[in-house]
Symmetry: C2
Subunit: 204 residues, 2 copies
């Protein structure tokens, strides 16, 4: 049976069913840990399912910060130091990565709380996550405040990439399945994709 | 062996290896078809891997439009009529959905070229894709032009949702795996995720 819900019906759902339903509607989402530090060196680590590709020349990634997010420190630290790292979540990191979504008290690092290990990034404040196979260091570029709900799109330029050579295909692509990178759907479901096929460029 | 690439090395890669590499870096991406029509009723259909969740109250989705995209008609039609639909891509639609990425001549609809079927949406211009199990009708809300590379974030408000009742969990979540929704990684790899686990809300 096909369900049809219009905007007013969606608005009348309870908060949790609406959140769960709408969170499913974009499709599968990326699963990353964003690591930052403030100018005093206090680190912060938070899970994000909103990292998106914006362009390859210059190489840019974006992510969405919610106004009510537990990871408000991520924003403060990025604006403080301008640098941050995006680190992929693998199958064996789901538990510890998900733990970063808790509301830890100020002055308490999620690295200590979850057992994940900060890996220094030369003279940058923000550390990488040592357990992640795919690590990306970025510099803040611009931000856009959405009028519709006060979320922010944060745009960063890629300064450095680290990955194991064995997951790269000859054409440059990183095979995420070889690194057992996971994907998030809805609010809290973790899945592991299996490659079906690569499609050729469409020429007419 | 761990590969480290800094910004200047990334810039010196050839266009295709750089595009393939950077396209892999955000992680798994959503796989959707966006359908629009202009005010004369001429339809357009294009594949997007950049649809993201922005919030559930109000229910908002975003997507990224590249300045050089073949789906420039998507933007023109949305600004013309304000409405568009986002339709999930399933395993058995990969071939036809991918075909929409070709550069079809003006006045030629991708619906005809790919064999996908437009499904009317009441009095709205934009059609749904009949073959998609999860269909979302939206109204344009706002756009943000990124200075860094002239791409646009398009923000839309959800007006209607259509899905088969059997893929919804009791808590409201749509189980994308039951609908065989696919995910895209890199420039052209389609994968089918299998659920590993749902994680509980983290309380401290």
């Amino acid at each position: 049976m096909k369900v049809k819900l219009i905007e007013s019906e969606l608005a009348r759902l309870g908060k949790v069913p609406r959140l769960n339903l709408v969170n499913s509607l974009s499709g599968y989402k990326s699963a990353n840990l964003i690591a930052t530090a403030n100018s005093k060196g206090q680190t912060n680590l938070a899970i994000f399912s909103s990292v998106i590709h914006l362009g390859s020349d210059p190489a840019l990634l974006g992510f969405i910060l919610r106004p009510t997010t537990v990871s408000r420190h991520t924003y403060d630290n990025i604006r403080d130091t301008s640098d941050y790292t995006i680190n992929h979540i693998h199958e064996d990191m789901i538990e510890s990565a998900h733990q970063t979504s808790g509301k830890y008290p100020a002055g308490h690092s999620e690295f200590e709380a979850t057992g994940l290990t900060p890996e220094p990034w030369q003279d940058h404040r923000a550390p990488f996550v040592a357990e992640s196979k795919i690590q990306i260091g970025l510099r803040f570029e611009e931000e856009h405040l959405l009028e519709a709900n006060r979320t922010r799109l944060i745009v960063g330029r890629i300064l450095e990439i680290r990955f194991p050579s064995e997951i790269q295909d000859p054409d440059g692509t990183l095979d995420l399945s070889r690194a057992k990178v996971v994907t998030i759907s809805g609010a809290d479901t973790y899945s592991l994709p299996a490659t079906i096929r690569r499609m050729p460029y469409v020429r007419l």
